[in-house]
């Protein structure tokens, strides 16, 4: 979707209302399937089964065994609903082909709209159920709530995310807002201005760059107001916004910040909770869009007439702010591209979250168990990172190693999983 918006900017063209609504509906459906998969397959096992439970059970199979097979069916059904809407609008759910400069390649029919509306209604109910499950399993468990709000998974940083004209969360269109660790707005900019606000630091040990806020500066891997490190994520979006644009999600937004002690919330594990608030928003917004008859207007594209040159497109990807910046020749052939993806924005913070979790969990007097690996993994899995996400992996593995040194720098223990 960022590339659609970047090509709109390159060709200096604005899609008509139905084109924008179709894109936003497609994008809400994308959020629904992505957030459902992340919560049920990747976050829920840690809380439903327990963060240090047997790894053979700590997966989606363990979760559905515990909460009920019927829930598993609902998970698959609603993911499939969302993907069917995406495929119906844009040809394919993954690697869609519907976006063109100036809008979409085809309109939808009234029959499609009705189908989407029914599916969106069901997604709203499933989102409400998912938040109830989170409340019953996680928030009602004092140990889990302490884990979420405790120091080892907390990091005070700046936050970045997109907001609409009312400063409400928006995934598709708006300004980029940045708040400091105390929640005060320090920047609000248009996509085309991103280079005035974001710079990238490099380290010799990584080929991925480390973005930071240009006006605050790179001060190393440190937290706080003097450090330009910022985070993007579902929780970052909620932190930068004044609220949600739909009623049920707004009520959940209020509850989240009340429980976490106000805005901004710095609890990395609360990314999962924010993800469910956004799941509800995406479902409600999808329903709103599908009830709007204008979405079936056959005019879904404005044909570009200007000579293409350069443009920036920004959207909120499920895991955070996504920036595409293209330069082209006069025929629209790409000559230069710069992408800053959510995982890159969060890369400095991920290093620090991992370190903080490891330091908080490894104690001199405490035996180091296998569960430690998972609890370190939880610190970066909350970011839903893309770095290890190959196109497909049949057997699959996620290598992780924790090496524990004593005060003399001698290795005293090594824990690892899936190392080649």
């Amino acid at each position: 979707m960022a590339s659609c918006k970047a090509t709109d900017a390159v060709f200096h063209v604005d899609p008509p209302p139905a084109g924008k609504k179709l894109r936003e509906a497609f994008y809400c459906a994308h959020y629904i399937h992505s957030h459902i998969a992340h919560f049920y397959a990747l976050a829920a096992p840690d809380f439903v089964m327990g963060p240090t439970s047997d790894p053979a059970q700590r997966n989606i199979l363990g979760v559905i065994s515990k909460v009920g097979l019927q829930i598993g069916g609902e998970v698959i059904k609603h993911r499939a609903y969302a993907q069917s809407i995406q495929a119906s609008i844009a040809g394919k759910a993954t690697h869609p082909v519907g976006g063109v400069p100036g809008g979409m390649s085809k309109p939808i029919t009234e029959e499609q709209r009705k189908d989407f509306e029914e599916k969106a209604k069901s997604c709203v109910e499933f989102s409400k159920f998912s938040l109830k499950l989170f409340n019953d399993v996680v928030l009602s468990n004092k140990d889990y709530l302490n884990l979420i709000t405790g120091p080892i998974y907390t990091m005070k940083s700046y936050y970045m995310g997109m907001v609409d004209s009312n400063n409400k969360v928006n995934f598709y269109e708006g300004d980029i807002r940045v708040v400091d660790p105390e929640g005060k707005e320090v920047a609000k900019f248009k996509p085309a201005q991103y280079l005035e606000y974001i710079a990238e630091h490099t380290e010799p040990w990584s080929y991925l760059k480390f973005p930071f806020l240009k006006k605050v500066g790179w001060k190393g891997f440190v937290e706080g107001k003097d450090s330009g490190i910022y985070r993007v994520s579902p929780l970052a979006r909620l932190n930068v916004a004044d609220g949600m644009a739909t009623p049920l999600a707004q009520a959940e937004y209020d509850k989240l910040f009340k429980t976490l002690g106000g805005k901004p919330a710095h609890a990395t594990l609360a990314f999962h909770w924010a993800r469910l608030v956004e799941l509800l928003y995406a479902s409600e917004r999808l329903l709103e869009l599908c009830k709007d008859k204008e979405i079936t207007d056959p005019k879904v594209r404005t044909i570009p007439t200007a000579t293409p040159d350069e443009g920036v497109g920004i959207v909120e990807a499920p895991r955070g702010t996504l920036i595409h910046h293209y330069q082209t020749d006069k025929n629209g052939i790409l000559t230069k591209a710069n992408l800053i993806v959510a995982t890159a924005h969060n890369y400095p913070a991920m290093q620090m979250s991992i370190k903080k979790a490891a330091q908080g969990l490894i104690k001199k007097t405490k035996d180091v168990q296998e569960g430690l690996l998972n609890m370190v993994e939880m610190a970066f899995r909350a970011y839903d990172p893309c770095s290890a996400c190959a196109t497909h992996t049949l057997p699959g593995q996620m290598p992780l190693e924790v090496v524990i040194y004593n005060s003399r720098g001698e290795v005293i223990e090594t824990l690892s999983q899936n190392l080649r």
Binding site: G72, T391, H392, M398
Partner: protein, 153 residues
């Protein structure tokens, strides 16, 4: 028997697209109405949506093993992947978990799943062509799958 042949891979990532190439070739040579040939770059839970409703599935993919030689072809069953239930990616579940999930929640999963995996050399460079040894394996793998289809028809 309603059969799905599913080529997995990224068609612009050199050898990673070998499953796509084999599926394309099979699609050109198979005309039976009982056999559907598809390609996808999806993984994890998304594969469930594709597999549902078939009696049999033949999945074709790239593989990299410790001592494998490029172009080697392996015929595997899902049980070969049962040793891991751990997340293969921070985004999604792995293939074995997705299959097990489908079975447990009562989805109409194929009763018979066979995996043809081709040992690959390059999955890092952008190219719409496979490397020479992997390219040579494509017609061999196509014939193996056609033979299996003929035997079981």
């Amino acid at each position: 028997m309603k059969t799905l042949i599913l080529g997995l891979g990224n068609p612009i990532l050199s050898d990673d697209g070998v499953g796509n190439r084999i599926a394309q070739e099979l699609g050109n040579r198979i005309s039976s109405q009982d056999i559907t040939v598809e390609e996808t770059s999806m993984s994890g839970l998304s594969l469930l949506d594709l597999l549902v409703g078939y009696d049999r599935a033949i999945i074709v993919d790239a593989i990299q093993t410790t001592n494998g030689k490029a172009g080697q072809i392996y015929r595997l069953t899902p049980e070969a992947f049962n040793d891991t239930r751990h997340a293969s990616s921070p985004h999604d579940v792995n293939f074995a978990t997705a299959l097990e999930l489908g079975h447990r929640i009562g989805m109409p999963m194929p009763g018979q799943i066979t995996i043809y995996a081709v040992e690959v050399a390059d999955t890092s460079n952008f190219s719409e062509k496979c490397t020479p040894k992997v390219r040579k394996a494509i017609p061999k793998c196509v014939n193996m799958i056609l033979s299996e289809l003929n035997e079981n028809h």
